[in-house]
Symmetry: none
Subunit: 415 residues, 2 copies
């Protein structure tokens, strides 16, 4: 069964509001095993809403439209649905009473325009509201159906979960479960990762019914490799994902740092926690970014002590005890990491020094960085070249230095 989402509202087209409703519904449909091939945004214009609904009904079995159910003149979803169904609108006296009761409970004046929300196309049924004043609608069109739900996200989510999805799943009859799992990688270029995965993707393409694998470059979050399976039961889906994860890990090796929602910071926290080691930072080019990402990680206070932002070169010397010499260098990165470790009295020190731009520094090109790590077992620094503008270079440097620590901690073996 195919379900199309139509989001209604001029503010969505003007970019005043980002349409996150369609993404939320798309995720729920995928979880329920229902295909969604198109999602459309259209403004508060009755002819264009009608046109969008007709195109959607032409290529999909079911349409969910969000928004345009409010009490004002802008809210034209009900009229557009009546046109598509070829019927009149009628006002439902029982729903008028329901809306009056909701508004009375809020101690708010009840303007007559709210009664518009009790209108429905002849032959449509209401989806009861539990949060806002606007009821939803289920509108049969031939053997297809259009559901209309409010555009306010929490009202929409409540109505879709409570009234629309169960109905959809029942209509779809026997259905499959769709589950996916994301492996998060760092350190491989997208094209390198593509070449590594190519034989596996070709194999999966030739074996219909098996998992599908796709990957997505996600900036400082790395490249995400997602396996998706469709199976008759939850248990079979999970078993197939377990097997595919194992296969993908054997191909990608230690480039895989986490699964699903695990961030790099989270993984670092786990690895440090195993050894009861604490961390201090010395940040130059990243200017506090690594630190601010770490403190957003739940539980970071058990392993993160703090750091020094040495944006001016003299601070590297005076506060961290770095020696004279070039600051975009292996020596400086090592001394910064060691200096932070010593100053904050931690087990591990980590440092970033480099050129975020806009111009060259110490005759080094923009994107040059040295990442330093000081462990109880010794210190070192590695060189990287990062692409993008200064914001992106900083983000990539932040994840890169955390990944360096991850690899060094893994290399120490299990604790």
């Amino acid at each position: 069964m195919r379900c199309e989402v139509v989001a209604i509202g001029t503010e969505l087209l003007l970019g005043q509001v980002v349409d996150s409703n369609s993404a939320w519904i798309g995720e729920k449909l995928a979880e329920a095993g229902i295909d969604s091939h198109f999602q459309v945004k259209v403004g508060d214009n009755i002819e264009r809403v009608e046109a969008a609904l007709r195109i959607a009904l032409d290529r999909s079995d079911v349409v969910i439209c969000c928004g345009g159910l409010g009490p004002t003149q802008d809210d034209i979803t009900r009229e557009a649905l009546a046109r598509v169904m070829g019927v009149a609108l009628e006002r439902d006296p029982e729903m008028v009473a329901v809306i009056d009761a909701i508004l009375a409970g809020r101690d708010r004046p009840c303007p007559p325009s709210n009664a518009r929300q009790a209108d429905r196309p002849v032959g449509a049924s209401f989806l009861r509201q539990t949060l806002g004043t606007a009821p939803g609608l289920a509108c049969p069109v031939g053997d297809k159906v259009v559901y209309a739900v409010p555009g306010v996200p929490h009202e929409m989510e409540d109505m879709v979960e409570r009234a629309v999805l169960p109905d959809l799943v029942a209509r779809a009859g026997e259905r499959a479960t769709i589950r996916s799992r994301t492996l998060r990688t760092w350190g491989l270029a997208e094209s390198v990762l593509a070449e590594m995965l190519a034989p596996r993707l070709e194999y999966l393409d030739a074996a219909p019914g098996g998992p599908t694998v796709a990957f997505l470059a996600s900036g400082m979050e790395g490249i995400k490799v997602r396996a998706t399976v469709k199976a008759p039961t939850e248990a079979e889906a999970v078993a197939a994902l377990d097997a595919e994860e194992q296969m993908l890990r054997s191909i990608l090796g230690d480039a895989v740092f986490g699964v699903d929602d695990e961030t790099m910071e989270h993984v670092i926290g786990e690895l440090l926690g195993q050894r009861r080691w604490s961390l201090a930072l010395a940040e130059s080019m990243t200017g506090g970014l690594v630190s601010s990402r770490i403190v957003d990680t739940p539980g970071a206070s058990t392993w993160f002590k703090g750091g020094v932002v040495t944006y001016a070169s003299e601070v590297k010397l005076n506060v961290l005890g770095v020696g004279e010499g070039p600051v975009i260098s292996e020596e400086c990165a090592v001394q910064m990491a060691e200096g932070a470790r010593k100053l904050l009295d931690t087990d591990v020190g980590l440092s970033v020094t480099g050129v975020a731009g806009p111009g060259r520094q110490e005759n080094q090109p923009v994107g040059t960085a040295w990442l330093g790590v000081a462990l109880p077992t010794g210190s070192e620094a590695v060189h990287v070249r990062l692409p993008g503008d200064r914001v992106r270079i900083r983000q990539l440097a932040a994840t890169s230095v955390l990944d360096l620590l991850r690899r060094r901690l893994l290399a120490l073996g299990p604790q």
Copy 2:
């Protein structure tokens, strides 16, 4: 002229990524006075991308499609465009060389799949890439045109502003100019700001053809008050905006900290620069967030020396010389600001200490913060209570401490 946006990517339909690109493009089109009646999301499927492009070309004059220009097998935008144009794809040797040069600069191996990004439909022209490896495409279809741009937001934004919008505006010929200006405020609750502006908004409502004014709560960026005018010429639009800005400033006073893209960090840099003063930070609850926002500001290296992240309480004592006692306190905030000022040898020290959550600390509720400022003229700290979850509390604390410095520097009078 009507422009439709087609966002390509299965991850958008599945809700794994929210399509913010279309909203961004929609905003730019509106600013340029170009109508956008529909925006569509479609997955990585060549037949469906082709169908979406044909529908878009049928009802709009211009189409911008985002995404699907990468090097992998998933990336089918080029093929779909060739089908819509009824032509073959050809590989451009000059673009192959450009892509090779970009990848060589990154010290990364250059696998053959990247050469796919040098393919273009016969008759299409490239839009040069300045950030990623994928060039864009301008594809004539009859008297209409489809622009294809990357799906990575910063690459898309760069290419649309640099190459697509100027071309679109030229194609649109004579048109009304729509211009807007945003006053950025901090320190007033939304309801207070609404009351202050109510008489002005009523006056403007009753005077059609004049500016429209709207406001939008924007988290750590404050509440934005936007005036928009439509006028026959650029000069008339700017004159009307100048007059409206003056009126709004007379109402909102020093709550207005900046205009349009001016961030709080930018304003602080201007004020410190006037006195040739330097800044050091001591961050506890914000964990480096203030610092990382500052270093994203162009020119920050002339006034920002760095800071200390004192996430563990002992670091406040050992590194900043704060005395024993509660750390969520006025005394601690003052000593942190003074300690950072002394340690980094700057004119100004700024500090944040407080409870970001999830639990209470020192029996203080979540959201409690003390903001400290140490100037050559003396030190002080102020108390604030901030709403939201830990991420939001940190963001609000970061802007609040910068606003404290802004107000103290303004109070010192012109230099």
